[in-house]
């Protein structure tokens, strides 16, 4: 709620300025846009919970899935956890179809996760790799960086398929 109201304020301020008689000063506008951007960037990232939309970063055929259950944790899933998801968007002719219920491993999460040495790691987006019930990946390729913590979670196959390991 607070986030919404703040963004509204910014929008109102901008429209007011425009109404005040065209300043058309690039500096003013750019500064406002940067503040808006920084505000968006500082949004608080949270757990992957029911109804979270995740990108699918393998060639299983699904493009976007929605989390319907986190298999571990009270608040939700984090980086490296397994979730149950329903396929919302899928490519035609893929291994999985739209509406199917699948298992997935969270390989990228925007919420930071502590590492074993005490430092933290976070990613750009929320992404998932689809797996079967035994934990073997459905697709044959994995795109983008994945964390090395997956080794601890016994997903060595995903690690070996990945392009980059962070």
């Amino acid at each position: 709620m607070a986030a919404n109201s703040a963004s509204n304020c910014i929008l109102v301020g901008r429209s007011l300025l425009r109404g005040l008689g065209n300043f058309s000063s690039g500096i003013l506008r750019s500064s406002q846009e940067t503040t808006c951007n920084s505000f968006l960037a500082q949004q608080i990232r949270t757990f992957i919970q029911m109804r979270s939309n995740l990108k699918v970063v393998d060639n299983s055929g699904a493009k976007r899935v929605m989390c319907i259950q986190a298999l571990k944790g009270k608040k939700g899933a984090r980086l490296g956890d397994t979730i149950i998801a329903s396929v919302k968007e899928a490519q035609p002719g893929g291994k999985v179809k739209k509406g199917q219920v699948v298992y997935g491993v969270v390989v990228r999460a925007a919420m930071q996760r502590g590492r074993c040495d005490g430092s933290e790691v976070k990613f750009d987006d929320n992404a998932v790799v689809l797996v079967n019930k035994q934990g073997e990946p459905i697709g044959t390729r994995v795109f983008g960086p994945v964390p090395h913590e997956l080794r601890k979670k016994k997903h060595v196959k995903i690690l070996s398929l990945a392009q980059h390991i962070a």
Binding site: S38, Q42, D117, G118, S119, E120, A166
Partner: protein, 170 residues
């Protein structure tokens, strides 16, 4: 164990400190503390923020080219342990540190060379330009006020006002 450098302020990150952000193109940004991370999120350019190493290097505040910097290097192959080598290295670290700090001081000294003369020059200029502000030590506040009343400026103003009033009546 590897000591990384902070992306924003270029300080050393010891194991277990800070946060790292992995962009989707797998570029890793490491930050030594939340201050640097927040500045990154605000899209600030470290070259334009005065307290970062990048700014200081760019603007000639710090020593940049020195042979003492060439010992510190990123090596991807672990060195085979050699007792003598380790001992010598540990000894060398101290001496190199000493040399570096001495050279840094010299750099700072050179940089601040003309500062005292410049300050004196500016002070003299200010003094010359603002001479009318200087009050003689014998002059008191009362005598200054008397001087002000003695001037015929007040009478002049009165005349002007009268003429204006006359015009209004007409």
């Amino acid at each position: 164990m590897r000591l990384e450098k902070c992306w924003f302020c270029s300080s050393t990150i010891y194991p277990g400190h800070g946060i790292q952000f992995v962009r989707n193109d797998a570029k890793i940004f490491r930050f030594c503390r939340s201050k640097c991370h927040k500045n990154f999120k605000m899209k600030r350019n470290p070259r334009k923020v005065k307290w970062t190493k990048a700014y200081r290097r760019l603007h000639g505040k710090d020593m940049t080219q020195d042979s003492t910097f060439e010992f510190e290097r990123k090596r991807n192959r672990p060195e085979r342990y050699d007792r003598n080598l380790t001992e010598n290295t540990l000894k060398a670290i101290k001496t190199i540190d000493k040399v570096r700090s001495r050279r840094g001081e010299m750099h700072h000294k050179n940089r601040m060379k003309g500062k005292a003369a410049k300050e004196r020059r500016e002070a003299r200029k200010e003094h010359d330009q603002q001479l009318h502000m200087v009050v003689a030590p014998g002059a008191t506040l009362g005598s200054l006020a008397k001087d002000a009343t003695a001037t015929p400026a007040k009478a002049k103003v009165k005349v002007q006002q009268e003429s204006e009033e006359n015009r209004m009546e007409e």
